[in-house]
């Protein structure tokens, strides 16, 4: 009997819930969902040992679409919630999901500090350069000349460069993925989860409703021409000159992750009272 394919304990399907996504048909986020479920199967994890944490927006709907433990919190605060969870429960695998509005605008400050804190979690941002859930306003990654109702003629404000910011802030793993290649996204998530510390995966995930022209991203996205570096200075040069379409792992750092809850107490409550006792 020659069975060439070994069966892992669970398949991607086991990580997909019965709850059907509200995303527009054609949305890149469907692909990210598929990639997440594949990645978790490839990592041979069990749904109860994984938590998917999110904020608000289209992408942030993802937790309930998985069979993992989910936390769908308030706008912009997915990283703090994920940080608290991972620090309190170091035994769990924590994925934090966000979008370009949730993660880079309202949650921008948390992004900087999550990178520098380096808690061992994976941050997946589905970037479509637009606010979808509130109907098409420009986000921090929107091109300055993209015209919308809120900013007719464009914002005139330059885009935020999430990967450069992540590197400068201390993220320990930086990758860019493209939702047009769900298997590629899955492979990058697997690597991100395996890498210790704060792993950042920016996924170009087109919005077919407000940014139909992003269907053209499949022509632009290409594998990064060189392998990742562990040298921040080299990574900085590459990321600064990057056109935003190099796909793959771009940086892997070697910083030690933030420590979680200690394994066991060393003192009793009564010991602490000693500090007050006269």
């Amino acid at each position: 009997m020659n069975a060439p394919i070994t069966s892992p304990a669970l398949t991607a399907k086991d990580f997909k819930s019965d709850y059907k996504p509200v995303w527009c048909p054609g949305c890149g986020d469907y692909s990210v969902l598929t990639a997440v479920t594949k990645a978790l199967a490839m990592l041979e994890l069990r749904p109860e040992n994984v938590a998917v944490v999110s904020g608000i927006g289209c992408s942030s709907r993802i937790p309930a679409y998985t069979t993992c433990y989910g936390f769908h919190g308030v706008h912009g605060r997915s990283l703090p919630a994920g940080t608290g969870l991972k620090v309190a429960r170091p035994d769990l695998t924590v994925l934090v999901a966000s979008g370009d509005g949730d993660g880079y605008s309202i949650g921008g400050n948390h992004f900087l500090h999550a990178c520098r804190r380096n808690v061992d979690l994976t941050y997946i941002v589905m970037d479509n350069h637009v606010y979808g859930m509130t109907k098409g306003q420009p986000s921090p990654t929107t091109e300055p000349d993209w015209s919308s109702k809120l900013a007719p003629g464009g914002t005139g404000v330059r885009e935020f460069h999430p990967l450069v910011i992540a590197l400068a802030s201390g993220a320990n793993f930086i990758a860019r993925a493209f939702s047009g290649d769900p298997n590629g996204v899955a492979a990058l998530i697997v690597e991100a989860v395996r890498h210790p510390g704060f792993s950042f995966v920016e996924v170009l995930s087109p919005c077919v409703t407000f940014r139909p022209e992003q269907r053209g991203w499949k022509e632009s996205a290409r594998p990064a021409p060189v392998a990742y570096t562990d040298d921040p200075a080299r990574a900085a040069r590459r990321l600064m000159t990057d056109d935003g379409f190099n796909i793959g792992v771009l940086y892997k750092g070697r910083r030690a992750p933030f420590a979680g809850l200690p394994a066991a107490p060393t003192h009793s409550l009564a010991d602490l009272e000693g500090g007050f006792r006269l």
Partner: protein
């Protein structure tokens, strides 16, 4: 000089570098060592270093966390800008001023109270001891004026000073000798000593949190809550927990929610500006039913206000600040030592009801240090109901009679779910159906409204047809006013609420049966507590509001006058 005082209040003022806080703490330690109760509060100018400051120490034969009507002694190492504290340092003709003539005369604002001035050459005396400091001379003078024994002073100096102990003791003894020449305010002998703690309200709240089971704290530094966090940080590590310094208050509350969702009881501490930032996430805690506790060490607001001074003006935001209908818990400790039990209780309620709880402490409690009787703790403990798989589809938000639904903790197989701030059905699936919204709102309201706090909801003391209603740090001076009234044969009822939300109208009605006159005491400008009482309760008879904004505390005398007024 007769030892006939049951309470002596002294203040030691001076500019930065004079060491008035260090000396104040040693005086408190000396009082404790001599078997007395004591309370130290502090005031300071806006400078980070070098500014004027005053340590205010009250030593008494009875337990109190209130400041007295007046100070018997105001001592100053120097008088630069000490006049700024005039309203906080009330003096009278029986008071005395101690100062060093090398630093000029006391400001007129103090001398015009009738207080007598006794110059003491603090600097010159300190010069007589190798390594001596004027603050240690002043410490000796103040201890001597109260009649504290030299050995208690030595013990305090030994405990507090890391180096220069001998010089410290020698200088303090020179001060003691100076006091012998002055009319003092000798304390009565104290009866047998009970077992006591020396603790700040912030430490007490931190310890209460740990007793309640908190093992994760995330917080952002803010005056006057920072010491609570600084106490918790090493303490948590010892008991198997941790503290994360967050990038802002939005992060700290959301980190706490994340940790609690993971099954680890979690807390954050802040003050008004931080609480304002946390409000949205508290609503998430309500809807997603994730327990979390916020200790709000209230300071003078709005906005940055007076960051270092106390006020009870966050009551409205704590009760009503959340958007939507968001039932939650608000608890207020009503003494410095009650910060332990009140915080522990809040953690227990949050955990057992799966709801956010706010503890309204304030700067007065938080930063005051006092000798207190070791609190008696409730044996009752509260726990979060946790779910396990029974093979059925898991309903995280099942509509139970109590409103509490067992919570799945990540790691538990077979019952994974998504905690959601979106309205949801019993399974936790987002829903915009009116029926689901109503059913879940009623469930969330039910678990709070069905809560029976027993006798813990308020401290009720005394009888009579006059009642005083208050909460928090106004309780201390009210208690003292009641004690004075009782000593004169006039009894009245003191009702100090500890549970502010949910309101307990039936219990208050019972507590106020037969009352003809109600006084409502609070430290804010607009009468937030009065408005709250009027909206949630029926107040019998004539109602009078006693209120003023921070930072000046109420003093027993003014409350006493209102109680006994015919």
């Amino acid at each position: 000089m007769k030892a006939n005082h049951s309470s002596v209040s002294v203040a030691l003022a001076g500019s930065g570098g004079a060491g008035v806080m260090t000396a104040g703490n040693m005086l408190l330690e000396a009082a404790a060592a001599a078997g007395y109760y004591g309370l130290m509060t502090r005031t300071s100018g806006p400078q980070i270093r070098g500014g004027e400051a005053a340590a205010m120490v009250r030593v008494s034969t009875f337990a109190t966390d209130a400041q007295d009507d007046r100070f018997q002694v105001l001592a100053a190492i120097d008088w630069q800008n000490v006049n700024r504290f005039a309203t906080e340092l009330p003096l009278g003709p029986e008071s005395i001023l101690i100062g060093d003539q090398a630093h000029g005369e006391p400001p007129e604002v103090f001398t015009k109270t009738g207080a007598r001035y006794f110059p003491v050459p603090l600097k010159q005396l300190a010069g007589q001891v190798q390594g001596g400091w004027p603050n240690m001379i002043a410490l000796g003078v103040l201890a001597g004026l109260m009649g504290l024994p030299a050995q208690a002073l030595e013990a305090a100096i030994n405990k507090a000073m890391k180096k220069g102990v001998e010089a410290g003791i020698a200088a303090a003894k020179l001060g003691l000798a100076q006091a012998a020449n002055l009319d003092g305010f000798k304390l009565k002998e104290i009866p047998a000593k009970s077992s006591r703690w020396l603790i700040t309200g912030n430490e007490a709240a931190g310890y209460g949190a740990l007793r309640g089971g908190v093992r994760f704290v995330a917080a952002y530094p803010i005056t006057p809550a920072t010491e609570l966090l600084e106490w918790l940080s090493p303490a948590l590590t010892k008991v198997g927990g941790t503290l994360v310094q967050a990038e802002d208050e939005l992060a700290s509350i959301n980190m706490a929610l994340g940790a609690s969702y993971g099954g680890v009881p979690a807390l954050t501490a802040t003050s008004g500006p931080g609480l304002s930032l946390m409000i949205e996430a508290l609503g998430l805690g309500v809807t997603a039913e994730v327990p979390v506790v916020v200790v709000d060490v209230m300071r003078t607001g709005p906005s940055t206000g007076i960051a270092t001074k106390s006020e009870q003006a966050d009551l409205n935001i704590a009760l009503y600040g959340l958007h939507g209908d968001a039932p939650h818990i608000v608890i207020a400790p009503n003494s410095l030592s009650d910060c332990v039990a009140a915080t522990e209780w809040a953690v227990g309620l949050a955990e057992s009801l799966q709801v956010p709880a706010i503890v309204l402490s304030d700067q007065y409690f938080g930063q005051a240090r006092a000798v207190v009787d070791v609190p008696a703790f409730e044996k009752k403990s509260f726990h979060r109901a946790k779910a396990n798989s029974n093979g059925q589809p898991y309903k995280r938000y099942a509509l139970t009679d109590s409103g509490v639904s067992p919570m799945a903790i990540p790691g538990t197989p077979g019952i994974t779910y998504t905690a959601d701030g979106l309205e949801h059905n019993e399974r936790g699936t987002p829903s915009s159906q009116s029926g689901d919204h109503l059913a879940q709102m009623e469930k969330r309201a039910r678990k709070i409204s069905q809560l029976d706090p027993g006798d813990a909801w308020a401290s009720i003391e005394g009888e009579g047809d006059v009642a005083l209603l208050t909460f928090g740090s106004c309780t201390g001076p009210a208690r003292e006013a009641f004690a004075r009234a009782r000593a004169e044969g006039f009894d009245a009822r003191l009702v100090s609420l500890r549970m502010l939300a949910p309101a307990q109208p039936a219990k208050l009605k019972q507590a106020l049966a037969g009352v003809k006159r109600v006084l409502v005491l609070e430290q804010n400008h607009s009468g937030q507590f009065l408005r709250y009482l009027r909206s949630e309760y029926e107040l019998p008879g004539e109602v009078k509001s006693l209120r003023r904004p921070g930072p000046l505390p109420f003093r027993p005398e003014e409350i006493y006058r209102e109680i006994v007024r015919p």
